[in-house]
Symmetry: C2
Protein backbone atom coordinates (compact mmCIF):
# COMPACT_ATOMS: atom_id res chain seq x y z
CA UNK A 1 0.00 0.00 0.00
CA UNK A 2 1.59 3.25 -1.16
CA UNK A 3 0.62 6.74 -0.07
CA UNK A 4 -1.71 7.03 -3.06
CA UNK A 5 -4.08 4.46 -1.60
CA UNK A 6 -4.63 6.71 1.41
CA UNK A 7 -4.81 9.95 -0.59
CA UNK A 8 -8.61 9.91 -0.72
CA UNK A 9 -8.86 9.48 3.04
CA UNK A 10 -6.30 12.21 3.60
CA UNK A 11 -8.24 14.61 1.35
CA UNK A 12 -11.42 13.93 3.34
CA UNK A 13 -9.65 14.38 6.67
CA UNK A 14 -7.86 17.58 5.61
CA UNK A 15 -11.08 19.12 4.32
CA UNK A 16 -12.99 18.21 7.48
CA UNK A 17 -10.28 19.81 9.57
CA UNK A 18 -9.91 22.99 7.51
CA UNK A 19 -13.55 23.58 6.63
CA UNK A 20 -14.78 23.91 10.20
CA UNK A 21 -12.57 26.97 10.73
CA UNK A 22 -12.28 28.30 7.16
CA UNK A 23 -15.78 27.67 5.87
CA UNK A 24 -16.55 26.49 2.35
CA UNK A 25 -15.93 29.38 -0.01
CA UNK A 26 -12.62 30.56 1.33
CA UNK A 27 -11.16 27.06 1.22
CA UNK A 28 -9.45 26.27 -2.06
CA UNK A 29 -8.61 22.88 -3.55
CA UNK A 30 -4.90 23.86 -3.57
CA UNK A 31 -4.98 24.45 0.19
CA UNK A 32 -6.81 21.16 0.81
CA UNK A 33 -4.26 19.25 -1.31
CA UNK A 34 -1.31 20.93 0.44
CA UNK A 35 -2.73 20.07 3.87
CA UNK A 36 -3.45 16.48 2.78
CA UNK A 37 -0.05 16.17 1.08
CA UNK A 38 -1.77 15.11 -2.14
CA UNK A 39 -0.72 16.47 -5.55
CA UNK A 40 -3.30 18.95 -6.83
CA UNK A 41 -3.44 17.04 -10.12
CA UNK A 42 -4.71 13.96 -8.28
CA UNK A 43 -7.69 15.72 -6.68
CA UNK A 44 -10.09 15.14 -9.57
CA UNK A 45 -9.10 11.49 -9.70
CA UNK A 46 -10.85 11.11 -6.33
CA UNK A 47 -13.56 13.77 -6.34
CA UNK A 48 -15.61 15.29 -9.12
CA UNK A 49 -15.69 18.72 -7.47
CA UNK A 50 -15.32 20.58 -4.18
CA UNK A 51 -19.10 20.19 -3.80
CA UNK A 52 -18.90 16.40 -4.12
CA UNK A 53 -16.00 16.28 -1.66
CA UNK A 54 -17.94 18.46 0.78
CA UNK A 55 -20.99 16.17 0.73
CA UNK A 56 -18.67 13.29 1.72
CA UNK A 57 -16.98 15.39 4.39
CA UNK A 58 -20.36 16.33 5.84
CA UNK A 59 -21.33 12.65 5.86
CA UNK A 60 -18.11 11.62 7.61
CA UNK A 61 -18.51 14.43 10.15
CA UNK A 62 -22.05 13.35 10.95
CA UNK A 63 -21.09 9.67 11.14
CA UNK A 64 -18.61 10.57 13.87
CA UNK A 65 -21.00 12.90 15.65
CA UNK A 66 -23.86 10.46 15.24
CA UNK A 67 -22.01 7.66 17.08
CA UNK A 68 -21.50 10.09 19.94
CA UNK A 69 -25.20 11.13 19.88
CA UNK A 70 -26.47 7.54 19.70
CA UNK A 71 -23.95 6.48 22.36
CA UNK A 72 -25.02 9.14 24.87
CA UNK A 73 -28.73 8.63 24.11
CA UNK A 74 -28.47 4.83 24.59
CA UNK A 75 -26.87 4.59 28.03
CA UNK A 76 -29.14 2.85 30.56
CA UNK A 77 -30.37 5.96 32.36
CA UNK A 78 -33.54 8.07 32.61
CA UNK A 79 -34.34 9.92 29.37
CA UNK A 80 -33.53 13.42 30.65
CA UNK A 81 -30.14 12.23 31.96
CA UNK A 82 -29.38 10.85 28.51
CA UNK A 83 -30.39 14.13 26.89
CA UNK A 84 -28.18 16.04 29.31
CA UNK A 85 -25.24 13.74 28.51
CA UNK A 86 -25.73 14.57 24.82
CA UNK A 87 -25.67 18.33 25.45
CA UNK A 88 -22.68 18.01 27.79
CA UNK A 89 -20.80 15.99 25.16
CA UNK A 90 -21.52 18.68 22.54
CA UNK A 91 -20.23 21.41 24.86
CA UNK A 92 -17.15 19.28 25.64
CA UNK A 93 -16.29 19.10 21.92
CA UNK A 94 -16.26 22.92 21.70
CA UNK A 95 -14.20 23.19 24.90
CA UNK A 96 -11.61 20.71 23.59
CA UNK A 97 -11.43 22.60 20.29
CA UNK A 98 -10.69 25.82 22.16
CA UNK A 99 -7.98 24.08 24.23
CA UNK A 100 -6.39 22.47 21.17
CA UNK A 101 -6.51 25.24 18.58
CA UNK A 102 -7.35 28.37 20.54
CA UNK A 103 -10.66 28.89 18.72
CA UNK A 104 -14.23 27.66 19.10
CA UNK A 105 -15.00 26.66 15.52
CA UNK A 106 -18.61 25.68 16.16
CA UNK A 107 -20.57 23.01 14.33
CA UNK A 108 -19.50 22.25 10.74
CA UNK A 109 -23.13 21.48 9.83
CA UNK A 110 -24.51 24.75 11.20
CA UNK A 111 -21.63 26.74 9.71
CA UNK A 112 -22.25 25.32 6.24
CA UNK A 113 -26.03 25.66 6.56
CA UNK A 114 -25.70 29.41 7.08
CA UNK A 115 -22.83 29.96 4.66
CA UNK A 116 -24.26 28.07 1.68
CA UNK A 117 -27.95 27.25 1.75
CA UNK A 118 -29.67 27.31 -1.64
CA UNK A 119 -26.51 28.10 -3.61
CA UNK A 120 -25.19 24.54 -3.15
CA UNK A 121 -28.31 22.36 -3.43
CA UNK A 122 -26.53 18.97 -3.01
CA UNK A 123 -24.81 20.02 0.20
CA UNK A 124 -27.98 21.72 1.42
CA UNK A 125 -30.05 18.57 0.81
CA UNK A 126 -27.61 16.44 2.83
CA UNK A 127 -27.50 18.97 5.68
CA UNK A 128 -31.30 18.99 5.76
CA UNK A 129 -31.41 15.21 6.07
CA UNK A 130 -28.82 15.24 8.85
CA UNK A 131 -30.61 17.91 10.89
CA UNK A 132 -33.87 15.97 10.42
CA UNK A 133 -32.09 12.91 11.81
CA UNK A 134 -30.77 14.90 14.78
CA UNK A 135 -34.27 16.22 15.48
CA UNK A 136 -35.70 12.69 15.27
CA UNK A 137 -33.07 11.35 17.71
CA UNK A 138 -34.00 14.10 20.17
CA UNK A 139 -37.73 13.50 19.60
CA UNK A 140 -37.22 9.80 20.48
CA UNK A 141 -35.65 10.65 23.83
CA UNK A 142 -38.45 13.15 24.49
CA UNK A 143 -40.97 10.35 23.91
CA UNK A 144 -39.13 8.29 26.54
CA UNK A 145 -39.05 11.27 28.91
CA UNK A 146 -42.81 11.74 28.54
CA UNK A 147 -43.40 8.00 29.12
CA UNK A 148 -41.34 8.30 32.31
CA UNK A 149 -43.49 11.25 33.40
CA UNK A 150 -40.46 13.59 33.38
CA UNK A 151 -41.96 16.05 30.85
CA UNK A 152 -45.54 16.86 29.79
CA UNK A 153 -46.79 14.59 26.97
CA UNK A 154 -47.30 17.51 24.57
CA UNK A 155 -43.56 18.30 24.76
CA UNK A 156 -42.70 14.93 23.21
CA UNK A 157 -42.97 16.29 19.67
CA UNK A 158 -40.83 16.95 16.61
CA UNK A 159 -41.59 20.64 17.06
CA UNK A 160 -40.07 20.70 20.58
CA UNK A 161 -37.14 18.58 19.42
CA UNK A 162 -36.49 21.08 16.61
CA UNK A 163 -36.62 23.96 19.11
CA UNK A 164 -34.09 22.14 21.25
CA UNK A 165 -31.65 21.58 18.38
CA UNK A 166 -32.21 25.21 17.26
CA UNK A 167 -31.37 26.34 20.78
CA UNK A 168 -28.18 24.26 20.66
CA UNK A 169 -27.13 25.66 17.27
CA UNK A 170 -27.89 29.23 18.39
CA UNK A 171 -25.85 28.85 21.57
CA UNK A 172 -22.97 27.30 19.61
CA UNK A 173 -23.15 30.37 17.34
CA UNK A 174 -22.67 32.61 20.39
CA UNK A 175 -19.86 30.39 21.73
CA UNK A 176 -18.11 30.68 18.37
CA UNK A 177 -18.69 34.43 18.12
CA UNK A 178 -17.37 35.04 21.64
CA UNK A 179 -14.73 32.33 21.19
CA UNK A 180 -15.81 31.13 24.62
CA UNK A 181 -17.20 27.63 25.22
CA UNK A 182 -18.50 28.74 28.66
CA UNK A 183 -21.48 30.25 26.80
CA UNK A 184 -22.75 26.67 26.57
CA UNK A 185 -22.92 26.25 30.37
CA UNK A 186 -26.45 27.69 30.25
CA UNK A 187 -27.77 25.08 27.83
CA UNK A 188 -29.22 22.68 30.36
CA UNK A 189 -31.40 25.03 32.47
CA UNK A 190 -32.87 26.50 29.27
CA UNK A 191 -33.49 23.03 27.89
CA UNK A 192 -35.41 22.14 31.05
CA UNK A 193 -37.51 25.29 30.62
CA UNK A 194 -38.24 24.45 26.97
CA UNK A 195 -39.35 21.00 28.06
CA UNK A 196 -41.52 22.23 30.92
CA UNK A 197 -39.61 19.77 33.12
Amino acid sequence: MGRTSTARTRLLAATGELMRSHGYNSLGIAEICAHAEVKKGSFYHFFESKQALTVEVVDAYWQGERSCWVGELSVPAPALDRLRRLLDATAAVQRRMKEDSGTVDGCLLGNLALELSTREPDIQARLKEIFDEQIQLVANVLTDAAAEGAIPTDRASLSTARALVAQLEGMVLFAKLKNDPAVLDDLWPHTLMLLGA
Copy 2:
Protein backbone atom coordinates in the same frame (compact mmCIF):
# COMPACT_ATOMS: atom_id res chain seq x y z
CA MET B 1 -24.64 65.99 -7.60
CA GLY B 2 -23.22 63.44 -10.00
CA ARG B 3 -23.39 59.67 -9.70
CA THR B 4 -19.98 59.64 -8.02
CA SER B 5 -21.41 61.30 -4.93
CA THR B 6 -23.75 58.35 -4.46
CA ALA B 7 -21.18 55.68 -5.31
CA ARG B 8 -20.30 55.02 -1.67
CA THR B 9 -23.97 54.53 -0.76
CA ARG B 10 -24.49 52.28 -3.77
CA LEU B 11 -21.50 50.12 -2.78
CA LEU B 12 -22.91 49.72 0.73
CA ALA B 13 -26.38 48.87 -0.57
CA ALA B 14 -25.10 46.41 -3.17
CA THR B 15 -22.94 44.61 -0.62
CA GLY B 16 -25.78 44.40 1.88
CA GLU B 17 -28.02 42.91 -0.77
CA LEU B 18 -25.51 40.41 -2.15
CA MET B 19 -23.85 39.36 1.10
CA ARG B 20 -26.98 37.99 2.73
CA SER B 21 -27.35 35.35 0.01
CA HIS B 22 -23.70 34.97 -1.12
CA GLY B 23 -21.89 35.18 2.20
CA TYR B 24 -18.59 36.97 2.68
CA ASN B 25 -15.89 34.87 1.07
CA SER B 26 -17.61 34.06 -2.18
CA LEU B 27 -18.45 37.71 -2.81
CA GLY B 28 -15.76 39.53 -4.77
CA ILE B 29 -15.14 43.26 -5.05
CA ALA B 30 -15.67 43.04 -8.83
CA GLU B 31 -19.16 41.62 -8.32
CA ILE B 32 -20.01 44.27 -5.72
CA CYS B 33 -18.83 47.04 -8.06
CA ALA B 34 -20.77 45.63 -11.00
CA HIS B 35 -23.95 45.39 -8.93
CA ALA B 36 -23.44 48.93 -7.59
CA GLU B 37 -22.53 50.26 -11.05
CA VAL B 38 -19.30 51.67 -9.64
CA LYS B 39 -15.96 51.35 -11.45
CA LYS B 40 -13.76 48.79 -9.74
CA GLY B 41 -10.92 51.32 -9.65
CA SER B 42 -13.05 53.60 -7.44
CA PHE B 43 -13.67 51.00 -4.75
CA TYR B 44 -10.53 51.74 -2.75
CA HIS B 45 -11.29 55.45 -2.89
CA PHE B 46 -14.25 54.72 -0.64
CA PHE B 47 -13.21 51.65 1.38
CA GLU B 48 -9.85 50.45 2.60
CA SER B 49 -10.78 46.79 2.14
CA LYS B 50 -13.65 44.33 1.85
CA GLN B 51 -13.35 43.89 5.64
CA ALA B 52 -13.80 47.64 6.25
CA LEU B 53 -16.76 47.75 3.86
CA THR B 54 -18.33 44.75 5.60
CA VAL B 55 -18.12 46.36 9.04
CA GLU B 56 -20.06 49.32 7.62
CA VAL B 57 -22.57 47.03 5.90
CA VAL B 58 -23.12 45.17 9.17
CA ASP B 59 -23.65 48.50 10.93
CA ALA B 60 -26.14 49.69 8.32
CA TYR B 61 -28.00 46.36 8.45
CA TRP B 62 -28.28 46.54 12.24
CA GLN B 63 -29.33 50.20 12.15
CA GLY B 64 -32.28 49.21 9.97
CA GLU B 65 -33.09 46.12 12.01
CA ARG B 66 -32.59 48.02 15.27
CA SER B 67 -35.25 50.62 14.39
CA CYS B 68 -37.63 47.76 13.78
CA TRP B 69 -36.68 46.09 17.10
CA VAL B 70 -36.92 49.31 19.11
CA GLY B 71 -40.18 50.21 17.32
CA GLU B 72 -41.89 46.91 18.13
CA LEU B 73 -40.54 46.85 21.69
CA SER B 74 -41.77 50.41 22.38
CA VAL B 75 -45.44 50.19 21.40
CA PRO B 76 -47.76 50.87 24.34
CA ALA B 77 -48.68 47.25 25.10
CA PRO B 78 -47.91 44.58 27.72
CA ALA B 79 -44.28 43.39 27.58
CA LEU B 80 -45.02 39.90 26.21
CA ASP B 81 -47.16 41.39 23.43
CA ARG B 82 -44.23 43.63 22.48
CA LEU B 83 -41.87 40.66 22.47
CA ARG B 84 -44.27 38.73 20.28
CA ARG B 85 -44.48 41.65 17.85
CA LEU B 86 -40.69 41.60 17.58
CA LEU B 87 -40.60 37.87 16.76
CA ASP B 88 -43.49 38.22 14.31
CA ALA B 89 -41.70 41.09 12.56
CA THR B 90 -38.54 38.96 12.26
CA ALA B 91 -40.50 36.08 10.76
CA ALA B 92 -42.24 38.52 8.39
CA VAL B 93 -38.86 39.69 7.03
CA GLN B 94 -37.95 36.09 6.12
CA ARG B 95 -41.38 35.51 4.55
CA ARG B 96 -41.07 38.67 2.41
CA MET B 97 -37.58 37.62 1.33
CA LYS B 98 -38.92 34.27 0.16
CA GLU B 99 -41.76 35.98 -1.74
CA ASP B 100 -39.43 38.52 -3.37
CA SER B 101 -36.40 36.42 -4.26
CA GLY B 102 -37.53 32.82 -3.87
CA THR B 103 -35.05 32.12 -1.07
CA VAL B 104 -34.95 32.52 2.70
CA ASP B 105 -31.53 34.14 3.13
CA GLY B 106 -31.66 34.24 6.93
CA CYS B 107 -30.01 36.84 9.13
CA LEU B 108 -26.91 38.57 7.75
CA LEU B 109 -25.47 38.83 11.26
CA GLY B 110 -25.89 35.13 12.08
CA ASN B 111 -24.65 34.12 8.63
CA LEU B 112 -21.46 36.14 9.02
CA ALA B 113 -20.96 35.02 12.64
CA LEU B 114 -20.81 31.37 11.55
CA GLU B 115 -18.94 31.95 8.30
CA LEU B 116 -16.16 34.16 9.66
CA SER B 117 -15.67 34.26 13.40
CA THR B 118 -12.05 34.60 14.54
CA ARG B 119 -10.63 34.89 11.04
CA GLU B 120 -11.99 38.44 10.63
CA PRO B 121 -11.54 40.02 14.07
CA ASP B 122 -12.92 43.48 13.18
CA ILE B 123 -16.14 42.08 11.77
CA GLN B 124 -16.39 39.58 14.63
CA ALA B 125 -15.98 42.34 17.24
CA ARG B 126 -18.79 44.37 15.67
CA LEU B 127 -21.09 41.34 15.42
CA LYS B 128 -20.45 40.57 19.08
CA GLU B 129 -21.42 44.11 20.10
CA ILE B 130 -24.59 43.94 18.01
CA PHE B 131 -25.71 40.60 19.43
CA ASP B 132 -25.00 41.93 22.94
CA GLU B 133 -27.24 44.90 22.12
CA GLN B 134 -29.99 42.56 20.85
CA ILE B 135 -29.74 40.49 24.03
CA GLN B 136 -29.91 43.66 26.17
CA LEU B 137 -33.03 44.87 24.30
CA VAL B 138 -34.71 41.53 24.95
CA ALA B 139 -33.56 41.52 28.59
CA ASN B 140 -35.19 44.95 29.06
CA VAL B 141 -38.55 43.69 27.85
CA LEU B 142 -38.20 40.62 30.09
CA THR B 143 -37.66 42.95 33.07
CA ASP B 144 -40.94 44.70 32.14
CA ALA B 145 -42.68 41.33 31.75
CA ALA B 146 -41.52 40.24 35.22
CA ALA B 147 -42.66 43.57 36.71
CA GLU B 148 -46.08 42.96 35.12
CA GLY B 149 -46.16 39.50 36.70
CA ALA B 150 -46.28 37.82 33.26
CA ILE B 151 -43.10 35.76 33.79
CA PRO B 152 -41.22 34.55 36.88
CA THR B 153 -38.69 37.11 38.18
CA ASP B 154 -35.74 34.76 37.65
CA ARG B 155 -36.50 34.68 33.90
CA ALA B 156 -35.79 38.41 33.59
CA SER B 157 -32.07 37.85 33.02
CA LEU B 158 -29.42 38.30 30.35
CA SER B 159 -29.01 34.53 30.33
CA THR B 160 -32.68 33.97 29.38
CA ALA B 161 -32.54 36.82 26.85
CA ARG B 162 -29.48 35.17 25.25
CA ALA B 163 -31.31 31.83 25.10
CA LEU B 164 -34.22 33.55 23.38
CA VAL B 165 -32.02 35.21 20.73
CA ALA B 166 -30.14 31.89 20.29
CA GLN B 167 -33.50 30.17 19.75
CA LEU B 168 -34.39 32.78 17.13
CA GLU B 169 -31.05 32.40 15.29
CA GLY B 170 -31.32 28.60 15.38
CA MET B 171 -34.85 28.63 13.99
CA VAL B 172 -33.81 31.10 11.26
CA LEU B 173 -31.01 28.64 10.41
CA PHE B 174 -33.62 25.89 9.89
CA ALA B 175 -35.88 28.25 7.90
CA LYS B 176 -32.92 29.06 5.64
CA LEU B 177 -31.86 25.43 5.32
CA LYS B 178 -35.39 24.30 4.44
CA ASN B 179 -35.98 27.50 2.45
CA ASP B 180 -39.30 27.67 4.26
CA PRO B 181 -40.27 30.62 6.49
CA ALA B 182 -43.12 28.54 8.00
CA VAL B 183 -40.47 26.95 10.26
CA LEU B 184 -40.68 30.19 12.25
CA ASP B 185 -44.38 29.69 13.07
CA ASP B 186 -43.33 27.68 16.14
CA LEU B 187 -41.22 30.47 17.63
CA TRP B 188 -43.84 31.91 19.95
CA PRO B 189 -44.98 28.79 21.82
CA HIS B 190 -41.33 27.82 22.43
CA THR B 191 -40.56 31.34 23.61
CA LEU B 192 -43.39 31.12 26.13
CA MET B 193 -41.97 27.80 27.36
CA LEU B 194 -38.47 29.29 27.72
CA LEU B 195 -39.97 32.15 29.72
CA GLY B 196 -42.08 29.92 31.95
CA ALA B 197 -45.03 32.13 31.00
